[in-house]
Every structure is written in structure tokens, then in C-alpha cells.
């Protein structure tokens, strides 16, 4: 009994686990921080701020927190989104869009989880991620921007137009 318990208090191996645990803690980009450029690293990352560029943490997890706002492509092992993302997400293992998440872009991962309430527009490719070479889809922003002529009004401000209800479509009754 005495010998069995001894390592728990004296083994240097077990004592050394504490710093390892600390190293595995994820890095944080706080809510007041804006990053413009590429992020590359080898630790998990939580983003509550704003990032514009590219995030590459292929062997680690990236979480876009509820206050996070990304205009970026993300490459990670697991990508989890609770905030807003405009860009393409590449998950080596999985992509999760939580109920508060709002994503516009393309998702490439072998598994994609979309919680009820999440807002998503774009494409989901679960096949390409299973293949060794992943072809990168064109971003929606890049595709969308040049195709329509500038149509701002004379006052150079967005004009509210007749996209609303037609006379026929006006509410007619309440159930």
C-alpha cells in the first residue's frame, strides 16, 4: 500500500504534467483585439475579437466565440463557430456551427454539425475532405462582388426598393 501510493506524491513524471496541461490551454484573441493578416501556430485558439486574413492551425482546434467576427479562411483540426464568419472553413476532422453561429462561406470537412438556429449560407463538402487533395472552392465574396453593376441612387446611398409585399401578398387575415 505504502509503495503503491508513493509515486503519486513523489514521481517527477506526474509532477511534470501540470505544465503540459498549461501548454495545452488555448490561446485567446480578446474581444477588443483586431488582427489583420495570417495566423499560424500549434496551439488551440479561441477568437472573441476580429480577424481578417487567414488562420492556419491544422493540428489544433479553432473556436470562434460568440463575440468573434472573422473575415477569414480557417484551416484547423476542429473548427467550432459561435460567432460570425465570412470565409471558407476547412476542418481536418470536423466543423461545428453552434446555434448562435452565422457563417457565410464554404465548409470542407469529413463531418459537419449544424445546430438548430444556426445561420449558414454556402456549400458543404464532406467528400473532398476525405480525399487527400482538397480543391479549394472559390469564396462567395470573391464571386459576388464584381458581377453586378453599381446601382447606388443619385444620393449615393442604398435605395429601398420594391422587394416587399405585393398588393396580393399583403397580410389578409389572422388565424
Amino acid at each position: 500500500m505504502w509503495k503503491k501510493n508513493e509515486p503519486e506524491h513523489s514521481s517527477p513524471e506526474i509532477q511534470s504534467e501540470a505544465p503540459v496541461q498549461q501548454l495545452k490551454e488555448r490561446a485567446l484573441i480578446g474581444a477588443s483585439i483586431t488582427v489583420k493578416g495570417d495566423l499560424v501556430g500549434e496551439e488551440d485558439l479561441l477568437i472573441q475579437g476580429r480577424v481578417e486574413g487567414k488562420i492556419v492551425l491544422k493540428e489544433n482546434n479553432v473556436t470562434v466565440g460568440s463575440r468573434g467576427n472573422l473575415k477569414a479562411d480557417v484551416h484547423a483540426k476542429i473548427v467550432s463557430v459561435e460567432g460570425r464568419v465570412e470565409g471558407n472553413l476547412y476542418g481536418k476532422e470536423k466543423i461545428i456551427i453552434r446555434k448562435t453561429g452565422r457563417v457565410r462561406g464554404n465548409l470542407v470537412a469529413p463531418r459537419v454539425s449544424l445546430e438548430d438556429g444556426a445561420t449558414f449560407k454556402g456549400s458543404i463538402d464532406m467528400e473532398a475532405a476525405k480525399q487527400p487533395a482538397v480543391s479549394q472552392p472559390k469564396t462567395r465574396q470573391a464571386l459576388a462582388t464584381p458581377q453586378v453593376p453599381s446601382v447606388k441612387s443619385e444620393a449615393d446611398s442604398p435605395r429601398k426598393v420594391s422587394v416587399g409585399l405585393s398588393a396580393e401578398g399583403a397580410p389578409t387575415s389572422q388565424r
Binding site: V112, G122, D125, P149, K152, S162, G164, E168
Partner: protein, 208 residues
């Protein structure tokens, strides 16, 4: 001039769930699929986990658009500006010319579109639909429909959960089959089923 009927805002809250119904058209669609093939699916409705899960059984790639919400919040283009409907759809649905849709789920979207928008949307999508491509659609035969389109959730290959009916209604165009075929040149009706709730399920197929 009006392009679109709806005035729907993106729903921030989780939509209430409605009745669960047997869907013969969904079942017909499912049984047309070749288990050895992967299909590209375009879902014009709101993103929904059950639907994605269902599509993933046979899909290579899934495109999700929530088109009606996009159209409703699309307030900076108008016919008066000289912008054509084709340009609008090219802008809103910016696909590469090589994109192919084998199956399109339009749900109840067509009930909310003006005929002109309807025809242009189909014309635009036809560019990406090869012969044999399928469109799954729910057309209301009732005089009134919910003010905003809802989220339809696929439970399994033959069961569909409808959205909660809602309280505010609007008049419905009640498209009949000849109207639909006129607005959808290049497609023919593959299957249609009238349901007790007043909806008619359609499975359209792109002609060869």
C-alpha cells in the same frame, strides 16, 4: 414593379415545429437515387441540421442558400436601376459555370415569388441543372399561406416535418400544374401528390 412577394426577415429565433407528414414525393425522389453515385444538392431553404444529415447520405456537395431571406433583405437593386432579374440571380447565386445541381429543394419558395421572378429563377438554375436533375417543390393550393416561408425538416426518406402554420397569412398564387410548366420550361412533372393539408408535392425533372 415588384420582383418578389415576400417581406421576410431572417428568423433569429428557432422556428416552431409543425405537423409531421408522410411525403410521397420525397420518397419517390429517394428511390430514384443510385446508391453508388454522389449527388450535388441545392437547398434553397434555410439551413437545417436534419436536412443536411439526410443529404449527406447521398451528397457530394450541398449548397444552402436560404434564398427567400436573401431576396427579402436585398434592398439595393431595383428594375428602375436597369438591373435585370438575371443579374440579380447571378449576384445572389454566384456559381461557377462548372457547378452542377442534381437535386434542388425549393420547398415552398415558389409560392412567394412573382411569376416573372419565378421564371427567371428557373431559367438561371437551369444553366446548372443537367438533364435528369430533380426539383422537389411544395405548392399550396389554398387561398392563404403563411406570411413567411418556414423550415421543412426531413425526418427520413418518407417523412417531412412542416413548419408551424403561424398566425399571419397572405394570399397565395395557387399555381396550377399548367402555370408551373409554363414557368418552368425545360422541366416536366415527374410525380405530384395532393396532400390533405392543401399542399401539392411536386417532383420535377429536367428534360433531356
Amino acid at each position: 414593379m415588384k420582383w418578389f412577394r415576400p417581406d421576410a426577415e431572417p428568423q433569429a429565433v428557432l422556428p416552431a415545429q409543425g405537423e409531421v407528414r408522410h411525403s410521397l414525393a420525397l420518397n419517390a425522389l429517394y428511390h430514384r437515387l443510385d446508391s453508388q453515385r454522389r449527388y450535388n444538392v441545392l437547398d434553397l431553404g434555410r439551413a437545417c441540421s436534419q436536412n443536411v444529415e439526410f443529404f449527406s447520405q447521398f451528397c457530394g456537395k450541398i449548397y444552402i442558400e436560404d434564398l427567400l431571406s436573401t431576396l427579402s433583405s436585398f434592398d439595393y437593386l431595383s428594375p428602375e436601376d436597369g438591373t435585370s432579374l438575371d443579374a440579380v440571380f447571378e449576384y445572389l447565386l454566384p456559381y461557377q459555370s462548372t457547378t452542377r445541381f442534381d437535386i434542388v429543394f425549393s420547398w415552398d419558395l415558389f409560392n412567394y415569388l412573382e411569376p416573372d421572378s419565378f421564371r427567371h429563377l428557373i431559367g438561371y438554375l437551369s444553366r446548372f441543372c443537367p438533364p435528369g436533375a430533380l426539383i422537389f417543390s411544395l405548392i399550396s393550393t389554398l387561398e392563404s399561406i403563411p406570411d413567411k416561408p418556414g423550415t421543412y425538416r426531413i425526418q427520413d426518406s418518407e417523412t417531412l416535418q412542416y413548419p408551424a402554420p403561424g398566425t399571419i397569412l397572405r394570399r397565395c398564387p395557387c399555381y396550377q400544374e399548367p402555370d408551373l410548366l409554363r414557368l418552368m420550361p425545360g422541366f416536366r412533372v415527374c410525380n405530384s401528390f395532393l396532400l390533405r393539408n392543401g399542399f401539392k408535392e411536386y417532383l420535377f425533372i429536367r428534360r433531356r
